[in-house]
Symmetry: C2
Subunit: 135 residues, 2 copies
Amino acid sequence: MYQIDPAFLRTSHAVGDLALSHVRLHDDARYPWLVLIPRVTAARELEDLSRTDLATLTDEILLVGRAVRTLGTPVDKLNVGALGNVTPQLHVHVVGRRQGDPAWPGPVWGHSDAEPYSDAALLKALTRAAATLGL
Amino acid sequence: MYQIDPAFLRTSHAVGDLALSHVRLHDDARYPWLVLIPRVTAARELEDLSRTDLATLTDEILLVGRAVRTLGTPVDKLNVGALGNVTPQLHVHVVGRRQGDPAWPGPVWGHSDAEPYSDAALLKALTRAAATLGL
């Protein structure tokens, strides 16, 4: 049965469920950053998904990219990554990057400690993300 | 007209062309690492591709993942990333990661200077990659 790795619960907040993926807001106010976790038992790599699920995931990555763009100041580049070296459960990061952001132009993963959202900013970000995702 | 950013020519070697993407071997012998560059003029983000091209790219990412697995010792985790903060032309990295590799468990991008292949190892890697890709 599908179960979310507890590591995600410590570093992110639930936005809601799309057709395939559970979507979470990564708790770092410095970057507009959402994470998709396909609800597929034991999936670790993209190749573990069926062709149908892969097509759905692709659609959801684009949709989540649009949501990331609504979370703050204009994004210069989206960064999309499926890594999983630390938490192997299949998940895809979609991060809005801006020239001059703390990790620019390097990757955000492993760069520096997150700066959690304030309660008010968190509520605003979750609300905006959910609205764009139709949740 | 489609033209490859010269930055790729300095850091990688051509493997060949799939239906959509030009495939290159990143010149760092420490990691089995291929890069897909969709031959689509002015594409920077995944959302710049048509739905048909996105589906083809997804298939090609899986195929390239299989090729990465043939390049060396067994891979513990594939890392798939579309970043483009430095070179914005749309491209997708597929990197085979192993526990204890130089950047593990962090991302390879921006970690440390590449260690170029020797001529013999380069030829072997290009040949193996092309064979798996059917090129």
